[in-house]
C-alpha cells in the first residue's frame, strides 16, 4: 500500500471520461433544480462545482439517467473562458455600430461549431440521443437551411445526401469559414472605425433556433430540447452579453434552454433593446455559495463525505472520511471536560437550558483563551473531517486540494490508514497563510485595471480587518464569541460595495441574509471564508453570531496602510497578547492613521 495513488486528485470536469464522472459524481441537493427546462444562471466562486454540474448534463452521462429524470435534453457545452472572441479586439468593439450584429454572429457561429465539434467528438458522438438514420440528418439540414435567410443559405450551397459525419463535416467547414470571417470583420471594424462594412453573411439567433429546431423535429437528435451550457459567461464582452440576454429574453424554451454559469461578474443583464432580463421572469438563479443555513452546511458535509467515500472505494482505501481524518481526541476531551465544568457551575433551576447553552457557546473559546494564557495557542489543532469540511467553506475543490497536500505530506506507511492530526493542522494553517498573504497578492498582480487593483487591495485589508475583529470577539467575554460573519447597519458606499462584491466573486466572502430582532427586515450577511480561520486562530465549528458593523468601520480599515495591517497580523506577540489586540481594536483606525500622518 506504500505506492497508493493520491485519491484526492482534482480533475477538470471536461477532461473526465464518462466512467470517471460516474465514479466520482455525488449528487448535490440543488442538482434537480438545475434540470428545470428554463433559462438559468448558476453563480458561485471558482472550485464550487459549477462546471462539474454542467459536465453532468452532457449527453454521454445523461443517456444513463435521462429516463429516470423524465426530461430528455441534449446538453451542448459552450466553453467561454479565454476564448479568442472574448479578448483582444472584441473587448474594444462594444461602442462600434456593428458591435451587436457581430457579437450575435460570433456567438451563433461559435455555438454551432461547439455543437458540430461535440457531434464528431468520439466521447460524445455515440449515444442514444443521436440518430443513425441518414434520412433524419438529410431532413434536418434541408429543413434548417430552408428556414434561413437567403444570404446564409447560399453560403452553404446545395446539401447532398449523406450520413451524420458527412453532413457535420461539410457544415463545419462552412461555419468555420463564417466564424473566422466574423473575427476578421471585428478587426476591420476596429481598424477603420465607423466605416467598415461586413461582407460575409451574418448569422442570427433566429438562424440558430431554426437549425436547432430542425435537428429536433427531424429526430436527428432525439431529445425534447437542447440545453446550451454557457460555461463562464463572465468572460463575454458587454455586446456579447447583451446579445445573449436578447436571446434569453425570447424564451424559446421549447427548442433550447440557456444555462449560464458565472462567478458573479457577468457584465450586463440588459438586452440589445435596452430591456432587462429578470429573475424569475426570464430566468431563475441558483446561488451555490449563498445558502449558508445550518441545514445547508450539514448538507454540504454529507455531500463531501459522499465524494471522499466514493474515492476511497475506487482507490481501495478501507476507511471512511471520518476515520481517515481523525480529530484531536485529547483536545476534544479537554473541551468536553471544560463544557461539563461550565454546565455544572452555571446551573439555574429557573432556566433549564441556560447552563447547556452557555457551555455550548463559550467552552471552546475558554479553551483557546486558556491556551493563550499559557502561551500555547499554536498547540490548538485544526483536525477531523467535520472541521476540515467547515474550513473548505462549501467548496469541494478546497477540501480536495488540502486533503491532497495532506496525503502527499504523510509518510507512505500511514497513507492507507489515516492522516495524522499534526499533518492536518500544519497543512490547513499553511494554506490559510498562503490564502491571506499570497493569493490576494497574486490576484492583484494579475489585474491590469488600476481601479480593480485598488479594489483587490481593499479586499485584502477587509479580510485582514474582519478576521481581526472576529478574533477579538473570540477572546472577549461576550456571550456570543463565535462569529465569522458581519452585517452592515447602513448602506455601503459604492467603493465599499465593489470591494465586498469582489470578495464574494473570489470566494473570500459568502453571502446570506439575516433578519433584524423584530423580524421585520432582512439584511445582507457576509460570511468570511473559513479557510482563513487557522490564520486568525478562529473556531470553525458551531459559529452562530455575527458582527453588526457600520460601513464607516469597514471604510476605516480601507484607509489603513496594507503593510501595517499585514505586519500586525504576522506579529507573533500580537497573536498571543489579546490585551494588545483589544486595545488595537478599540482605536483601530485612528491611531494608526495618525501615526502615518505624523
Amino acid at each position: 500500500m506504500t505506492n497508493l495513488a493520491n485519491p484526492f486528485r482534482v480533475m477538470q470536469p471536461f477532461e473526465m471520461s464518462t466512467t470517471d464522472l460516474q465514479t466520482y459524481w455525488v449528487q448535490h441537493h440543488f442538482y434537480e433544480n438545475l434540470l428545470r427546462p428554463e433559462h438559468c444562471f448558476v453563480y458561485g466562486p471558482p472550485g464550487i462545482g459549477k462546471s462539474m454540474l454542467f459536465r453532468h448534463l452532457m449527453p454521454d452521462v445523461q443517456q444513463s439517467v435521462a429516463e429516470s429524470q423524465g426530461e430528455t435534453f441534449f446538453g451542448l457545452h459552450v466553453p467561454l473562458r479565454g476564448r479568442s472572441f472574448t479578448q483582444g479586439a472584441w473587448t474594444s468593439l462594444d461602442r462600434h455600430p456593428l458591435a451587436f450584429p457581430l457579437a450575435e454572429h460570433i456567438l451563433v457561429t461559435y455555438v454551432v461549431l461547439c455543437l458540430f465539434e461535440q457531434l464528431i467528438d468520439e466521447r460524445y458522438a455515440s449515444n442514444e440521443f443521436l440518430s443513425d438514420e441518414p434520412d433524419a440528418w438529410n431532413r434536418a439540414f434541408k429543413d434548417s437551411q430552408a428556414a434561413w435567410r437567403p444570404s446564409l443559405r447560399t453560403h452553404f450551397g446545395e446539401i447532398e445526401d449523406g450520413n451524420r459525419r458527412e453532413h457535420v463535416s461539410r457544415w463545419l467547414a462552412g461555419f468555420k469559414d463564417l466564424y473566422g470571417q466574423g473575427h476578421e470583420s471585428a478587426l476591420a471594424c476596429l481598424a477603420d472605425s465607423g466605416r467598415a462594412r461586413v461582407t460575409h453573411p451574418m448569422a442570427s439567433f433566429d438562424d440558430l433556433t431554426a437549425f436547432l429546431r430542425a435537428l429536433l423535429s427531424s429526430k436527428a437528435i432525439q431529445a425534447k430540447r437542447f440545453y446550451l451550457l454557457f460555461d463562464d459567461v463572465d468572460d463575454l464582452t458587454t455586446a456579447q452579453a447583451l446579445a445573449l440576454n436578447s436571446w434569453i429574453a425570447r424564451r424559446h424554451h421549447d427548442t433550447a434552454v440557456v444555462k449560464c454559469n458565472s462567478e458573479g461578474r457577468y457584465r450586463s443583464y440588459r438586452t440589445m433593446g435596452e430591456r432587462r432580463i429578470l429573475d424569475p421572469h426570464d430566468f431563475y438563479e441558483i446561488r451555490l455559495s449563498s445558502i449558508y443555513s445550518r441545514e445547508a452546511v450539514n448538507n454540504y458535509e454529507k455531500f463531501l463525505e459522499g465524494i471522499v467515500n466514493k474515492r476511497f472505494v475506487h482507490f481501495g482505501i478501507p476507511h471512511d472520511a471520518r476515520t481517515y481524518f481523525p480529530g484531536d481526541q485529547h483536545q476534544d476531551r479537554a473541551i468536553e471536560e471544560l463544557a461539563a465544568k461550565i454546565r455544572s457551575e452555571s446551573q439555574d433551576p429557573s432556566r433549564a437550558y441556560a447552563a447547556g447553552d452557555k457551555a455550548y457557546r463559550i467552552a471552546e473559546s475558554e479553551f483557546i483563551k486558556d491556551l493563550r494564557r499559557r502561551r500555547q495557542l499554536p498547540t490548538y489543532r485544526y483536525a477531523g473531517f467535520s472541521v476540515l469540511a467547515d474550513i473548505s467553506s462549501n467548496v469541494a475543490r478546497h477540501f480536495l486540494t488540502t486533503a491532497s497536500d495532506m496525503f502527499t505530506q504523510s509518510p507512505p506507511e500511514v497513507r492507507s490508514k489515516a492522516i495524522p492530526v499534526a499533518i492536518q493542522d500544519a497543512v490547513v494553517r499553511k494554506h490559510a497563510e498562503e490564502l491571506v498573504f499570497d493569493e490576494l497578492g497574486r490576484l492583484r498582480a494579475d489585474e491590469s485595471d488600476p481601479l480593480r487593483k485598488r479594489e483587490l487591495e481593499g479586499l485584502e485589508k477587509l479580510v485582514l480587518g474582519v478576521g481581526m475583529k472576529c478574533k477579538s470577539r473570540l477572546f472577549s467575554e461576550a456571550t456570543e464569541r463565535r462569529v465569522f460573519s458581519f452585517a452592515l447597519q447602513d448602506s455601503a458606499s459604492v467603493r465599499l460595495q465593489a470591494i465586498l462584491d469582489a470578495g464574494v466573486q473570489f470566494g473570500f466572502f459568502q453571502v446570506g441574509s439575516i433578519s433584524d430582532k423584530e423580524g421585520l427586515t432582512r439584511r445582507r450577511l457576509y460570511v468570511l471564508t473559513r479557510r482563513v480561520a487557522p490564520f486568525f486562530s478562529l473556531i470553525v465549528r458551531s459559529y452562530s453570531g455575527y458582527l453588526s458593523l457600520k460601513s464607516s468601520e469597514l471604510e476605516r480599515m480601507l484607509d489603513l496602510p496594507i503593510e501595517q495591517l499585514r505586519g500586525f497580523c504576522k506579529d507573533p506577540e500580537e497573536t498571543e497578547d489579546v490585551d494588545h489586540l483589544l486595545e488595537y481594536q478599540a482605536s483601530f483606525a485612528f491611531d494608526l492613521v495618525e501615526e502615518v500622518q505624523q
Binding site: 477532461e15 466553453p79 479565454g82 476564448r83 479568442s84 483582444g88 461559435y110 461549431l113 461547439c114 465539434e117 464528431i120 467528438d121 459525419r165 458527412e166 463535416s169 461539410r170 463545419l172 467547414a173 462552412g174 461555419f175 468555420k176 469559414d177 466564424y179 473566422g180 470571417q181 466574423g182 473575427h183 476578421e184 471585428a186 478587426l187
Partner: protein
C-alpha cells in the same frame, strides 16, 4: 537512423505518392496548411485526419483556413476525422496522438504534413512515433516550403512573429542534468526577437548558432536573411559562438550536421545540450529526432505572443518528402 529527403514537384497537378493508410493534416492560420491536400491524390487513403486546436481557441484566419482545408479534403472525397489537440495540455494531446496512431502500429503507411504543424505538437508526434520502433520505414513527413515570407514587407523588414509568451521544454531530460552548464544550439531563422529571448531566459554557458548556404536553403534569398540574423545574434553574445551548418530544406543533412557538431562539442567536455529549433520544419524535425535518440538533449520552444496571421507565407509548388527508417 536513415533519413531520405525527396523533392516532389506538383507542377503537373496532384501527384500519386502511392496509397497511404493514414494522412495527417494540421490546421493553421497559414495558407500553406491547404497546400498538400491539393498536391497529392487522396483517393484510396484509408483515413484522413485533421488535427485541430478547436474553434474556441484559435482566431479568425485559423478557422477560415481550417474550414477551407476541410472543404478541400471533402472535395477529394475524404471525410476527415477531426482530432482535437490542446496547446495548453500536452498530456491530452499525447493521449489523442497515441490513440490516433494505435491502429497503424502494426500495419499501413502514414504521411504526416508538418508544414504548419506547431513545433510542440510536432515534438509530441515524433515522441509517440519514436517510442515505437514498429513505425520504422512506414512513416513519411511532408513539408511544403515557402515561396515568399510576409510579402507585404521588404526583405529587411519581414516579420513572422512578435514577442515571446513562454519558453517551454518539449522533449528531453528525464532527470538531473550533469553539472557544468548548458550549451544552447540555436537553429535560428528569421526571428531575432525569439532567439534573443531564448538567450536571455536560458542564460546558456556556451552557444552555437546556425548558418545556412544558398544550396541548402529553400530559396537563395532566405539564406541571406538567415545569415544576417545569425550575425545580429552573434553581436548580442558576450562570447563568440560556435557555428553549425544547417540545411533548411533537408532534414537528413541537418540531422547529420547536428550530430557531428554535438560529438565535437562533447569531445571538449560539454555534456548538456539544448536545441532551440526556430528555422524550417525539416530542420526542426532533425532536432526532434535527435532528441528522441539522445535523451540528454533537450528541445525547447519559444512561443510567440502573436504571429503575422494575415501574411505569413505563400506555398511553393511542391513538397519535400522525408522518409525515416
Amino acid at each position: 537512423m536513415k533519413l531520405i529527403d525527396t523533392w516532389v514537384s506538383a507542377d503537373a497537378g496532384p501527384t500519386d505518392p502511392g496509397s497511404y493508410n493514414l494522412v495527417l493534416f494540421c490546421g493553421s492560420f497559414e495558407e500553406r496548411c491547404l497546400a498538400l491536400s491539393t498536391m497529392i491524390n487522396l483517393t484510396g487513403v484509408e483515413v484522413a485526419v485533421l488535427l485541430t486546436r478547436g474553434s474556441d481557441i484559435t482566431g479568425g484566419y485559423a478557422n477560415m483556413m481550417e474550414g477551407r482545408l476541410l472543404t478541400s479534403l471533402l472535395g477529394a472525397d475524404q471525410i476527415p476525422r477531426l482530432i482535437r489537440v490542446y496547446p495548453d495540455a500536452p498530456i491530452l494531446t499525447w493521449h489523442a496522438v497515441t490513440e490516433l496512431l494505435q491502429p497503424f502500429r502494426e500495419r499501413g503507411r502514414v504521411l504526416i504534413d508538418i508544414t504548419t504543424m506547431p513545433r510542440e505538437l510536432m515534438g509530441i508526434v515524433i515522441a509517440v512515433i519514436g517510442k515505437s520502433a514498429v513505425f520504422s520505414g512506414r512513416v513519411q513527413f511532408a513539408y511544403v516550403p515557402a515561396k515568399e515570407y510576409d510579402e507585404d514587407h521588404p526583405w529587411d523588414k519581414v516579420w513572422l512573429s512578435s514577442g515571446v509568451k513562454d519558453i517551454r521544454v518539449v522533449l528531453g531530460y528525464e532527470g538531473l542534468s550533469e553539472p557544468g552548464g548548458t550549451h544552447l544550439i540555436l537553429l535560428n531563422g528569421f526571428e531575432l526577437e525569439r532567439a534573443n529571448a531564448l538567450l536571455s531566459r536560458l542564460e546558456p554557458t556556451s552557444v552555437s548558432i546556425s548558418v545556412t548556404d544558398q544550396s541548402g536553403s529553400t530559396h537563395p534569398k532566405f539564406a541571406q536573411v538567415q545569415l544576417s540574423v545569425a550575425g545580429e545574434i552573434a553581436r548580442y553574445l558576450a562570447q563568440s559562438p560556435s557555428t553549425v551548418q544547417i540545411f533548411p530544406k533537408s532534414c537528413s543533412q541537418t540531422y547529420e550536421s547536428l550530430l557531428e557538431h554535438i560529438r565535437t562539442l562533447e569531445a571538449t567536455g560539454i555534456k548538456n545540450f539544448c536545441i532551440a529549433p526556430l528555422n524550417t520544419k525539416p530542420s526542426s524535425l532533425a532536432a526532434f529526432l535527435l532528441a528522441t535518440l539522445r535523451r540528454e538533449i533537450q528541445v525547447i520552444y519559444a512561443e510567440p505572443q502573436i504571429y503575422n496571421t494575415g501574411h505569413y507565407a505563400s506555398p511553393q509548388d511542391g513538397y519535400f518528402e522525408i522518409s525515416i527508417s
